[in-house]
């Protein structure tokens, strides 16, 4: 059976949590050897990506993506971050088609408070 990247990453996280540096090295070495033996080394990069996600989730860090029409002030970005959780890693993006306001992406949900969306909604309410 094919083992998915996430399963590998979860296993690795379970194995490595709470280990001291010396044990960590041996565990990692064993893990890489296991991957090579099963010809899974190609998946390595993707496992690292998954591992990062899992580690952040376990530590309570939330990743968000903030899209706005213009570059936002530091303060505003901080305020947006605060409103989600204590530990937030934010990626900022610029998309002029939003016209104004912000759009925040959180995992697979999008909170859309952009002017474009308001206008689309207004159009809907006027046409129906």
């Amino acid at each position: 059976m094919k083992i998915s990247n996430r399963q590998f990453a979860e296993a690795l996280y379970e194995l490595t949590i709470g280990l001291v540096e010396k044990d960590l090295d041996t565990t990692l070495e064993a893990f890489v050897k296991f991957l090579s033996k099963n010809r899974r080394l190609k998946q390595g990069n993707n496992i690292i990506v998954e591992f990062e996600k899992i580690a952040k989730k376990k530590q309570g860090i939330i990743e968000i993506e903030i899209t706005s029409a213009r570059k936002l002030d530091k303060d505003i970005v901080e305020k947006i971050k605060e409103s989600f959780a204590k530990q937030v890693e934010a990626v900022e993006k610029i998309d002029e088609s939003l016209i104004g306001g912000v759009r925040v992406k959180l995992e697979d949900r999008i909170l859309d408070a952009s002017v474009r969306m308001q206008l689309i909604n207004l159009k809907k309410s006027l046409t129906t």
């Binding site: 998915s4 949900r109 999008i110 859309d112 408070a113 006027l126």
Partner: protein
């Protein structure tokens, strides 16, 4: 309305508009193939939910897997790229239903394709719906008149029945269905014709023919053309029956034709294989039986407490070289309440409709037949059965006894009587009178080649001289007086012809 009023109205609307934060659930396309896509994310996605791709293309979630969602794309999948954002809509696939769909040509999603403008309906019904249960149904009791002598006499169909029309290509399967639709004029019946994987030219011809006969006033046509994606062919029958259910819920009677379910099974096979569901016999997926059974189970005859509506289904199956033992034909034969079997040999012998009476059956329709028809058709069936038995044997015998000769002659005339040209459905009372005359030997001295003409003359004669008698038969009355009157009419006709 003046300009100012318009502006005021607009201002009112705009000031009443509430600013809200839209919450959308999204995923990313990780793979696109012929008509399907695999999507990452969308963790809360429901089965059968509509998903929106960029550019307004819609999809339906079919496979919910551990990491991904398998989606069937309804539309132009070539415009979808890897990495595109896909939004949840929270809606189950549904189609517009209502009186407005009557007389229209729609695609599988209920969008008009006849260029007659929008279909503005208030109601939407989900495409997939669970069929009515045992407690809301009643036995079939009212007939559906197809206007085809052979069917109404020997393979009667009742309201709420599912009667399969099966045969090779070019044997007149669609012709029977279309004749049945044309014959519903003025019989308080809505009709829905679902064309699945058909040539657009054929559909255009059918629409023109139905319009010509005034049948579009009560008919809806749903088209999933041969060039449309397989997803459309898969959905079209469900969309059709959803529209039919609206009328049935209102207590009306509906006749729905699925032309044909073989192509729907092909489309479903294509989608299933692309979604990597394991193939079974003839490469169809394991649930291909359920595909048809859940569709045909939605045909029903509702009891009075549930409005008393009905949906009669005429599914069509195309066989290859008369092979009814293939997977899909056997499945659908077992689901339906009988089948009308059409044969190429009979078609080329000139027996049209090319019905093979011997293996065609109607398992429940007999209960729905009107009394006069039941009385006259009983003997006809027997005469035909005897004729078939003697026919083969008589080819070798040079001199036959009088009784056998008589049976052969009668049988040949019955076969001739059952012939009927396309687009010329007959009223039930005409059928009864014609069958009665042949059955009682009044046409025995007419040459076989003159049968059609004689039948027409006879019917004209009865129509002119015995109008009230026909009216009684139409109402389903049948007693010794009527029989005596009919006999008298036949004798009068024999004298003058």
């Amino acid at each position: 309305m003046s300009t100012n009023q318009v502006i005021e109205e607009l201002k009112k609307h705009i000031s009443a508009f509430q600013k809200t934060v839209e919450v959308e659930e999204v995923g990313n396309v990780i793979e696109v193939g012929d008509g399907i896509a695999r999507i990452n994310g969308l963790t809360k996605c429901q089965s059968q939910e509509m998903l929106e791709f960029p550019g307004g293309i819609m999809g339906v979630a079919l496979n919910l897997e551990e990491e991904t969602v398998g989606v069937m794309i309804l539309g132009d999948y070539e415009k979808i790229k890897e990495g595109d954002t896909v939004k949840r809509t929270g809606r189950i696939l549904s189609v517009p239903v209502g009186e407005q769909v009557i007389g229209r040509v729609l695609n599988a999603l209920g969008q008009p394709i006849d260029g007659k403008g929008e279909v503005n309906t208030k109601d939407f019904y989900p495409v997939e719906k669970v069929a009515p249960g045992v407690m809301s149904r009643q036995p079939v009791s009212e007939p559906v008149q197809t206007g085809i002598k052979a069917i109404d006499a020997m393979i009667p169909i009742g309201r709420g029945q599912r009667e399969l029309i099966i045969g090779d290509r070019q044997t007149g399967k669609t012709a029977i269905a279309i004749d049945a639709i044309i014959n519903q004029k003025g019989k308080n019946m809505k009709c829905i014709y679902v064309a699945i994987g058909q040539k657009e030219s054929k559909v255009a011809r059918l629409v023109a023919k139905l319009e010509e006969n005034g049948a579009m006033e009560y008919t809806t046509i749903i088209v999933a053309g041969a060039s449309d994606p397989a997803a459309m062919s898969f959905i079209a029958p469900y969309a059709g029956v959803s529209m039919a259910e609206y009328f049935a819920d209102k207590g009306q009677d509906v006749l729905i034709v699925y032309d044909d379910l073989t192509k729907q099974a092909w489309a479903y096979r294509e989608i299933s294989l692309l979604l990597r569901r394991p193939p079974g016999r003839e490469a169809y997926p394991g649930d291909v039986f359920y595909l048809h059974s859940r569709l045909l189970e939605r045909a029903c005859n509702l009891n009075k407490e549930h409005g008393g509506g009905s949906i009669t289904a005429l599914p069509i199956i195309e066989t290859q070289a008369g092979d009814v033992t293939a997977y899909i034909p056997t499945n659908v034969i077992s689901i339906t309440d009988g089948q009308i079997f059409l044969e190429t040999d009979l078609f080329y012998k000139g027996i049209r409709p090319a019905l093979n009476i011997g293996i065609s059956v109607s398992r429940v329709g007999g209960a729905a037949q009107t009394k006069p028809m039941k009385k006259v058709s009983g003997k006809i069936k027997l005469a035909l059965a005897q004729y078939r038995e003697l026919e083969a044997f008589a080819q070798f015998a040079s001199d036959l006894d009088v009784e056998t000769k008589k049976q052969l002659d009668r049988g040949a005339r019955v076969v001739e009587l059952m012939k009927q040209p396309q687009y010329s459905p007959m009223e039930i009372e005409d059928q009864v009178v014609a069958i009665f005359a042949v059955d009682n030997g009044y046409f025995d001295d007419v040459a076989i080649v003159d049968m059609t003409e004689m039948e027409k003359k006879f019917l004209d004669f009865v129509k002119v001289s015995r109008q009230s008698l026909l009216g009684k038969i139409r109402k389903g009355e049948w007693d010794d007086n009527i029989i005596a009157d009919l006999k008298e009419a036949c004798e009068d006709f024999v004298k003058i012809k």
